[in-house]
Subunit: 343 residues, 4 copies
């Protein structure tokens, strides 16, 4: 049996979530999210975000949420600025372009982050009406490389966006990992006030599936349900998402799971460093990136599931290990024990 570090969706839901879904399975509910569980889950999310007027809607997965939300906010000739390493740009088979919008990639730093200075040349160049109008900035927190935005960074970015009429959308597939990271200095309510829309990722943190999209400024939310329906993103048995998020935000389950995943990742990262495996980036969240010698990859393949991230050089590959709510300390220690010392 291999150790599973391939991603944070290798396991299903936290048992509390499964129990809650099973408990309501046959109680009978209205469809399409018009049920009490969903209403209460939305209310709970508004509460934990400190945004009593925000729009909350549940979707199924990350790509779907990114695409529906970003396309919802844009007019046809408007484009999304995105770090070149961003998920919207890279890994979604053109799902966003399928809605008719161009992505304007900007080079991200080694952590996968972007800052106002990166946006300035895009805005200047796109004064030209023969080019798209940049109107939305897409970032991820945690980023694709496991980094988190600090309060200062996000404040600066959002201030710039507001000043230039840009929407700021945060992909929160790993928002739990971000907000429970040692590198984080933002509360959820603080975070929520520093963007126009974001989602709280359930799939990668203890749900069977489900993402909670929050549009923080209610004046932007008009018409969203129809947009969601039009994109085939409305679940008939929507209460499953409602019950899921009710449970995730009861007794701090969501953040406790994320914190656990981060701790397991830290233990793994420290252990790998101690054994002489060089890090590609130092990650404060639940993704660990290591520069693996290609001649050691057969050992990796034998003992664990992981992912090839990108080539590093002729003889090395960047590989990624991901932890989650279900990663046990014994798994981390077992993996470390099974790997050779490179010192």
């Amino acid at each position: 049996m291999k150790y599973l570090f391939r991603n944070d969706y290798s396991f299903g839901a936290h048992p509390k979530v499964m129990d809650a879904v099973c408990a309501v399975n046959l109680e009978g509910n209205w469809g399409y999210g018009d049920d009490g569980h969903t209403a209460r889950a939305k209310e709970r999310i508004r509460q934990v975000c400190g945004l009593p007027e925000a729009m909350v809607e549940f979707l199924v997965g990350g790509t779907q949420t990114n695409v529906v939300a970003c396309a919802f906010l844009l007019k046809p000739w408007q484009a999304a600025i995105c770090p070149d390493s961003g998920h919207l740009n890279g890994h979604e088979v053109g799902a966003f372009e399928a809605t008719g919008h161009k992505i304007l990639p900007v080079p991200a730093d080694a952590q996968g982050k972007i800052a106002p200075v990166d946006l300035v040349p895009v805005l200047e160049r796109h004064q030209d009406p023969h080019l798209t109008e940049p109107k939305l900035v897409y970032i991820s927190n945690a980023t694709e490389n496991g980094a988190v935005y600090t309060k200062a960074e996000l404040t600066a970015l959002y201030a710039f966006c507001r000043e230039h009429g840009l929407y700021l959308f945060v992909d929160g597939a790993r928002l739990g990992a971000a907000l429970t990271s040692e590198a984080n200095d933002l509360t959820l309510p603080e975070f929520a006030r520093l963007c126009d829309a974001f989602y709280i990722g359930g799939t990668k943190n203890g749900a069977m599936f489900g993402e909670a999209l929050v549009i923080t400024r209610p004046e932007l939310a008009d018409g969203f349900f129809r947009m969601k329906k039009r994109m085939g993103a409305v679940m008939e048995k929507g209460w499953i998402q409602g019950v899921t998020f009710q449970t995730l935000f009861t007794d701090d389950l969501y953040f406790n799971m994320a914190r656990h995943a981060n701790q397991m990742a830290k233990r793994l990262q420290e252990g790998l460093k101690a054994k002489g495996w060089p890090l590609w980036v130092e990650s404060p969240t639940n993704q660990v990136f290591v520069i693996a010698p290609n001649d050691k990859k057969p050992i990796l393949d034998e003992v664990c599931d992981y992912e090839d991230w990108c080539p590093y050089d002729e003889t090395h590959t960047v590989v990624r290990f991901v932890t989650c709510f279900h990663t046990a300390q014994a798994d981390v220690d077992g993996l470390l024990a099974a790997l050779p010392d490179l010192n």
Copy 2:
């Protein structure tokens, strides 16, 4: 507590499905459907369809499946012919048009069915290259009005389609109800050979969610996974769909549930007739359509959940009752007992 006849997605999954999903919840699986459960479920569906080469892919819900499948089969200038009462045309917030395709509605008969004769004028008119090219025929089985296509009808329709280079796509949201109806004379393998693509609806028959799309002619299937991903329709924890459909097609659970729903609907339909409630259409499946006097609707509202289907006349409304795997005989009898005798 009301009797719940609003639709066939008022309840979650059959307990056997829930148990199976729970059983694998933490076993660890690869994402995106690249797991063994999904592979076995696909194989099982090919087997029950008698189509060893067919493509099977799982999607989340009905609108999504209709849209992804139909858009997949068409070139940009091609259109889908659809009964005017068809779900693709009516109830999907333009989800299909959102993929850039026009729907060519044709008048359906009182049962919601169409026949080759209905297609002829569309094809003639659309010889004109200033009009879209009709290329796909969308039907539902069971139809929106609860009817089922007979072997003769479907054979004639598909022969016409093949002769004229049209794809035939069957929305099988209620395929279980259709194939277990007393009005049905088709086996699943016979049915599967009479169309180019169809889906086996899970959401409306005992799954938490999930539809199994079958493209019966493998030469048409190339590229489908990317199309699905592009439409945000790939689940990260895809094994849930796999396990669900494995269970549905074990011990005939899928058809047993559908048969039960049909029996409950028949009992309800007979009971309503006996009490003098006129039927709008005689339905052989799990939807019952009644012409309700508007002055009796407060009683209906009090005792059950149901749906207003369409206005009938100044003083009557067509209402719909739907049964499902979880509808108990006591529910049917209780509802009937609670309704006034109109004789």
Copy 3:
């Protein structure tokens, strides 16, 4: 040599237009409409419309203008209401659906017109958020059947639209014919105040090509140039459109040509009636619709170009004759002389 009554784009431009285009051909101008001719033509159109703040932009053809303008005004989940006989619905190969929007056809009267009463049931039905949001009403003036909206009709329709938050867009491919019709009681400034956007068709009234889109409420116009460019609708040598419309609106050329076409059509219509050819509709503009006996069609084919409009019955076909600025009285009289008397 046949008489050409097939359509109003069988001939090129009025000689004054050609002369004007030729006169500036080699003078050197900035591209993309950033030239003085275009600026002056826009200003002239604002002036003749009595709308000093309106947005005016030039496009190439009718389908393009309809599609760009309507898609510009709508959000993705919004739909256009359109008479079932409307050009947007029928004859554009799904060009509007290609922008991702659904058309909601409503039955038009025999003249091709719609009224507020036709819109009410659409709005009621589409309260349901599982359906598209109707947001724009598309009509043509003159209609596809040659009729014109009266001041009272258009006032009522626009008042209804404003009251219900609907945009009113008027396809003015034959606006000249409409506003110079004997059935018309609207001036151009009056007309322009009774809709949110319309276009003044050049192609069908004396231009080589070109349509002048007017968005009457400037607050709706923001971003239009980018939308136009995104749809491939910006001409590099845009001054040709500018010079064309300058000429069309000098010395009343545009309306004089349209008036002439209407007079020729009236002469033809009266002549046909006198010879016992039954009209399909009585048209006050430049299209004449006749119920032709199928056994007389060979004669028609021999003497003139015309168009089959639609089947009438087993032995008759509705055919259409169209006049234009270049139709001579001798052509009308010649055609009439060549046709058999059906009395």
Copy 4:
């Protein structure tokens, strides 16, 4: 009066083209390109291309042609590979993405060209079905930077494309300049056999407007007219395009004009070098790129129309001068005389 070197669409049509268009202006023709002039022009283009079976269709402008043609060839999940400097990627307000397709930019060399070696990593990376499928390679000849593909280069690129199932599309907005360049070693028939589709640009070489799209492999062309109509790209008075291209390909007018433009550009480029103005790239076609000192730009602004291409450094800007069929030797010499000597 300034010297006009801003672009190759500052002037209208060559007098022979204008004369030809005027000559047929009132002769009466069928619409939508169903006329004899258009038929003969298509036949003539097939002939000069040496491709008797090729599909030829006329469109209005470059962006429209690029977008319609590339979208026509692709399935929804397929993407176009494009030099990062390519027009499709940069200057079309997301017109291509508006059709739902992603662009995969690859770094072009200093001349704006790409080679098979640039495509390899894209194809490797996109084996992953979670990414788009690269299916079409877009290049321009002449490139955006004025360079031309040699026979060896194009042969290698097309062989690679055929081997990997990629379509090769060549934007020929400046095809005349390319094929008459001193750097060119391809005849039009040779060129035409080295790609799947291309267009012969009329707008930038002596037409009022109009591009002739050639799909060299007729088996790829099925359905194109409907696609063109769906994109609003069918002209009602299509014979104008027909007559234009008939004239362009009579007595070698098209290539004679292009050769003249190239000669004028060469004279300008040589003259600028002689006066110490450094070239940004050495261009063998009708675009000249110079690194202009910013403190000399007021002089440039005073004496000529030109275009800022891109910033070079703190004190210099790359500027572009473009010649065309109407550029006179006196214009070149006048401009050179008016510019300061930087030696």
